[in-house]
């Protein structure tokens, strides 16, 4: 059962959590690469639980009542445990009881019957043994067993022009607002994970992400619900953090510091890799080979959307409808902007006209620049059986055309941003089974 606890005023330091068994299962990046989700049948098998301690405890309790001898023994599962665990526990209990001197026989040949039920309550598994000895009342003994955590990933593959791949980056219990790849070699070698409390920096060592530093975020006002944030690599320092009403700037070199201030400055919408101020000079240009001018949008500091005020404006539009997310599709002579507006429509704004379309997409959009298809694609969510699905689209004109199969995400997508280089996106989904937040890098591959 639970014991007295002390919670730090600042929630548990993830640097420590790495050594704590039973805490969140974090994927190493190399391991993640090996289980590229699009491979059919790829799955992470549930971690095998160690049932030895509760088996021994229950066996001792039973034998304390029956004494050594012959018993009829059965195990019934009324809990959420699967058949495999049921069998493992049954075998374990049988061994534990045998080790304490019990032998097993049919009920008519036994001095006692021991019926074990694998049950559970709100906080743990509960294994209950009902012991019936001749001419005596039932005796009931029980032990609690901790609930192990499972994780699993699902996948599909279709034959389509482009292939959308997702690569697991990071998993944690707290909502992930953004993940930035700070160093690539060529796979990500250093990442920064933004949540409501901190930026945590991890480095890949021996195939596992090792914590390097935690940078706390200070803010005077309460965060809005459905908190969102951006973590953007910068040219003359490591990164900037944009949160509702707050901007934080990191220092340039380790040991890093993060300076946060109240600010309603607009958030950049064009990935750094695509505009003139890029820290990734080779990352990408628009279809004509020119960089895309920066566009910034003001975020409502007490809500979960952008106010629609833009700087500079989109052509003749100084402001656009309030929106949750935006994607850009550079054309030869203009840039078509897509805004997932709070009115439920996708607004396509080319600087001259504003066309509202009802596309049945979610409110998360991101654009990626690739060497495939038309060169620019928009990633958008739709609803799947077990969670949201993600799909790539192109806009030959003003109507979307799907150019990839939909890939499953383990739950509702809470975050979707274009990565700094502009050629991939970062998605976070809340796993429907575990409740944890899983960050994925989404990239498009050309061809089948």
């Amino acid at each position: 059962m639970r014991s007295a606890v002390y919670n730090s005023a600042i929630p548990a330091d993830p640097l420590k959590s790495f050594d704590c068994p039973g805490l969140v299962f974090r994927l190493g990046f190399v391991g993640s690469l090996l289980i590229l989700i699009l491979l059919p049948g790829a799955a992470i098998s549930a971690r095998a639980a160690d049932w030895n301690a509760p088996e021994q405890e229950l066996a001792h309790k039973i034998v304390a009542i029956t004494g050594p001898g012959v018993v009829a023994f059965s195990v019934e599962n009324r809990s959420s445990l699967g058949q495999r665990d049921h069998e493992i526990i049954q075998d374990g209990l049988r061994s534990a009881l045998a080790g304490l001197g019990l032998r097993f026989a049919a009920p008519e040949q036994a001095a006692a019957t021991v019926k074990i039920t694998l049950s559970e309550n709100l906080t743990s598994y509960l294994w209950v043994a009902e012991i019936h000895q001749s001419a005596a009342e039932n005796t009931v003994v029980m032990v609690s067993a901790p609930r192990p955590e499972n994780s699993g990933l699902r996948n599909t593959r279709e034959s389509t022009p482009l292939t959308l791949r997702k690569i697991s980056l990071w998993t944690q219990d707290e909502p992930i607002l953004d993940v930035a790849v700070l160093e690539e070699n060529p796979a990500p070698a250093q990442i920064a994970v933004l949540d409501a409390q901190r930026v945590a920096i991890y480095r890949l060592q021996n195939g596992k992400w090792q914590p390097e530093q935690n940078l706390s975020i200070t803010h005077a006002n309460p965060w809005p619900r459905d908190l969102r944030g951006r973590l953007i690599p910068a040219r003359d320092h490591l990164f900037d953090v944009y949160l509702p009403g707050v901007i934080c700037v990191s220092t340039a070199a380790a040991p890093l510091a993060l300076n946060c201030r109240e600010s309603d400055d607009p958030w950049p919408l064009v990935p750094m890799g695509l505009n003139a101020g890029s820290v990734f000079p080779s990352a990408g240009m628009n279809s004509a080979g020119a960089s895309v001018p920066q566009m910034k949008a003001f975020y409502a500091s007490t809500r979960n959307f952008f106010t629609g005020a833009m700087t500079p404006g989109v052509g003749k539009f100084g402001s656009v409808p309030k929106f949750y997310s935006a994607a850009l599709l550079p054309r030869d002579r203009y840039t078509l902007w897509l805004f997932a507006a709070t009115d439920g429509h996708i607004h396509l704004i080319d600087g001259v006209s504003d066309q509202a379309a009802k596309l049945l997409w979610g409110s998360n959009l991101a654009s990626v620049k690739t060497a495939c298809g038309a060169g620019w694609q928009v990633l958008a969510t739709t609803s799947g059986d077990a969670g949201d699905t993600m799909r790539a689209y192109e806009f030959p004109d003003r109507d979307p055309a799907a150019v990839s199969a939909a890939i499953d995400l383990p739950g509702e997508v809470t975050t979707l941003w274009t990565e700094a280089k502009g050629d991939a996106a970062l998605a976070v989904a809340r796993n429907r089974e575990t409740g944890s937040y899983e960050a994925f890098q989404l990239a498009l591959a050309c061809g089948q």
Binding site: L227, T342, A402
Partner: protein
Amino acid sequence: MKRFNWRWLAASSLLCAMVAAAQTRPQYGGTLRVTTHATLTSLDPPDASQTDSVARRSLLLMMFDTLVAIDDNGRIQPALATSWQASSGGRRWQLRLRRGVKFDDGTPLTAEIAVSSLRAANASWNVRADADSVVIELETENAEFPAELALARNAIAKRSADGKDSGTGAFHAVEWEPGKKLALAATENYWSGRPFLDRVEIEMGKGFRDQITALELGKADVVEVPPEQLHRLSSGVHAVSSQPAELLALVFAREAASPEEKMLHEALALSIERGSIRSVLLQGAGVPAATILPNWMSGYGFVFPSDADLPRARHECEQVKATIHLIPVWSLGYDSNDPLARLLAERIALNARDAGLSLQPTSATAAEVRLTRIALSSSDPWIALSAVAAMTGATLSRSKENSAQDLYAAEEDVLASQRIIPLFHLPASYATAAGVKDFRVRPDGSWDLSNMWLGGASLGNHGQ
């Protein structure tokens, strides 16, 4: 670059038009209209004159915060207290308060106010302020004490001289007609983030049929539905149920005065055909119960058989008859405002007669045995069991180990007194209008609107 297949694109465009819409981000704004059967006449969290109900808990926890909260997995989570520490083996508890929290009248939360609030709710507690902490000294060790602090009656309220309570909750009252209507507005600077809704209007004292009609006519967004009537909801209505968190039980007005009377209580328990009552009167809702705590809370409920055993019930009645020669006639009270209660009482009386007992159903308030709905007070099993035990005059104290085995023994003791006969565990059920999103029901049946939002037509003109 590979040549692009535009025919494929055209087909895909059609396909994408056919898929379901994805979840959108929560939208701010709108007014939620809720109806309840319960009538609250006081918004004071510790007011003992008010019957504990899931509606009362739900409303209080919208306006007032507790120091800690119990999550859906039964774990204690920080709320107004960000950290806590036990010492002296769980006898002394120190809880550090969250900084920067304000009451809806603008007063900052202080340890002194929290102490005053807790004292008002628990006169016997030894509680004091220590800088930014609240310190509580218990008479006995209790490793699970924070679960007590998560109860709605222990929510922190600041009482002004005019008797008005201020809270630190996500909503604050803007209109209050005791027993009739309550209107709440979102607290803009709520410490855990402003709720998505702008306003919540609650109409109280509504019959279940009226509530469902209001939902169907678009005059309410969230209504209560008796579990046995869930199947009658029209197909477009979304229903949400909690874990079985209400106990339907027979409660005797007094302890059995003799071993024979105790045997008759047991005979009554054995005579009741819970399975067929569930099928017919409850329309398949609820779970037949022989324990006070539902299985999801205790994990051992299945050990207690709930099937009727008429031969044994008759045998016990005959044994008593052989000793005292006369089986008393008991009055069986039921709530005349509960349309299901009379039917249940009549069916129970019928079952009892088959065993040789005589029960007289009555809607009078005084009765020897009463059909009672008990809202289990917490998802913490010890607290829930203790509260029910207290109704029967029994006092429970947690064991030091706080184990499931000790809980089982404690419940076995309460049941052995035969003062209470559990019948069913029932969920709290609600129906919501189409635009209601992320309506959440806590395991104890109370609703939580802190993350709820309105989408589509329900948002109306109030949005954003």
